[in-house]
């Protein structure tokens, strides 16, 4: 048997809890309205649309194992990395089209990023044919580093290494085969070099990680020389 005074106390506490909950809800709603009223969400700046420019794409063709140059007009941003990504996106959009001569699912969203870096002094892997720096320039750099100078700035004219970061879904859905994988890799390398001649080397990542092969065949661990991927018109890789 519960005493009467305890029943009254429980009822009062329950009522107080309900009142406090309602009060808090009302205070939250008022604060939210004040926040919304203080923001000006009216558009004040029109979105920038990059001007359309001509881009050179090396489009692969499975029927004769060739790569052909195609000129496309598309908006290209000023930033070189974004520009390279936009060009590759267009290339992969062509491959994802239903009537593509080199069908590869995925499309332009398969390129996550393109990073542009100065070519490392010591070529990695197969890119051993990179010309070594002259002794004079090397010694000049050595002197600068020895004297405690700031790290050298990224050169604006030297060769560049493009690191293309692809999505895992693109690699997983890519058709398996030496021919088709090689054509995809070489057309990416050739397209990058054709639009930005400073890009002389290309490496690949998949979801930010190194991956042995694209779909079981083409080596993705090596550095590709982009200039070698640009064939004469209609020739095989």
């Amino acid at each position: 048997m519960i005493p009467r005074h305890q029943k009254l106390l429980f009822g009062i506490l329950l009522l107080a809890s309900l009142v406090m909950g309602v009060t808090l809800w009302q205070l939250r709603e008022r604060a939210h309205k004040r926040l919304i009223a203080g923001q000006d969400s009216a558009p004040t700046r029109a979105p920038e649309v990059a001007p359309a420019e001509q881009a050179t794409l090396l489009v692969a063709n499975d029927s004769d194992s060739s790569m052909r140059t195609q000129i496309h007009s598309l908006p290209l941003p000023a930033d070189p990395g974004s520009r390279a990504r936009a060009v590759l996106g267009k290339l992969l959009d062509l491959y994802a089209a239903p009537d593509a001569a080199h069908p590869v699912p995925g499309g332009g969203s398969s390129v996550l990023q393109v990073f542009l870096l100065p070519v490392p002094e010591i070529g990695a892997g197969a890119a051993a044919s990179v010309k070594p720096k002259s002794a004079e320039s090397s010694s000049a750099e050595f002197r600068a580093n020895k004297s405690g100078a700031a790290p050298r700035e990224q050169p604006q004219t030297g060769p560049q290494l493009a690191v293309v970061n692809l999505t895992g879904s693109f690699a997983a859905s890519h058709p398996s085969g030496i021919e088709t994988e090689t054509l995809t890799v070489l057309s990416i390398c050739g397209t990058l070099h054709a639009n930005q001649p400073r890009i002389t080397q290309v490496r690949f990542l998949v979801d930010g990680q190194t991956r042995a092969t694209l779909a079981g065949h083409a080596d993705l661990t090596r550095t590709y020389l982009a200039g070698d991927a640009v064939p004469a018109e209609g020739t095989q890789p």
Partner: protein, 246 residues
């Protein structure tokens, strides 16, 4: 009287010595005649070994071909068939796998490089089902040719062999075209081939292309498989004869 005795004794002794000499001479002659004639020293035959690498295997099924056939099964079947053809022609064959087993790429390279082979073939297959990319595709490494050195980088060991690999690719191309097949030549970067220290070519077999540029025979056609294997074997026999020429 004593002089006559001395002469008789001398002649008797001479006859005994002569008889012993004659017997010894006859024995030696017989022994010499019984021995086989000394072999004519010929130039030692160069050892000719072919490595056949059936790509994929185990959990790595490779590409999916028509009729739910897997690339790993096709390459293994072709490897076994080609090995038999080559063995029948007196060519020593080393294979990287004899069953549906997973073999790591580096292990394949180790097998090939230990064999010190005169030809290494990496067998692949593809069928995208779209009727494109038909015929046989031959790929040599895309590495730039380099001079052989004492210490060779693992990942680019093929660079010292690229010139020979291109020559092997040419012989394979001739044999396959002679067998009436459509052949495409190319360069590529395959991890296994790039590390091989032997003349190496990757052979990717797609459905046969007919005169109308359409599929004439699928990969599951036994006759097509047999013709491809026979053409590859003929090419390797030709490669052996070229290798033995001074």
């Amino acid at each position: 009287m004593s002089a006559r005795l001395v002469i008789r004794t001398f002649l008797h002794a001479f006859d005994r010595v002569s008889l012993v000499h004659l017997l010894l001479l006859a024995f030696l002659s017989c022994a010499a005649a019984a021995q086989p004639a000394p072999p004519v020293l010929a130039a030692p035959q160069a050892r000719f070994v072919v490595v056949i690498d059936a790509a994929h295997g185990g959990e790595d099924a490779g590409g999916s071909l028509s009729n739910s056939q897997l690339e790993k099964s096709f390459t293994l079947a072709l490897s076994v068939r080609l090995r038999s053809l080559l063995a029948a022609r007196g060519i020593q064959v080393v294979t990287t796998r004899e069953s549906d087993a997973a073999v790591e790429p580096d292990k394949r390279v180790e097998i090939a490089n230990h064999a010190q082979a005169q030809a290494c073939l990496s067998l692949h297959a593809s069928d995208n089902g779209s009727g494109s990319g038909l015929g046989v595709h031959l790929f040599a490494s895309s590495l730039s040719p380099a001079q052989p050195t004492r210490f060779v980088p693992w990942k680019t060991a093929q660079a010292a062999w690229v010139t020979r690999s291109l020559a092997l690719e040419g012989v394979l191309n001739s044999a396959l075209q002679h067998a009436g097949m459509s052949v495409t030549l190319g360069r590529t970067s395959l991890p296994v081939v790039d590390s091989m220290s032997c003349p190496a070519v990757a052979v990717e077999i797609a459905p046969e292309m007919g005169p109308d540029k359409k599929v004439a025979a699928g990969l599951d056609d036994p006759d097509y498989q047999a013709r491809v294997a026979a053409a590859l074997a003929a090419a390797l026999v030709e490669w052996r004869s070229e290798a033995r020429q001074p």
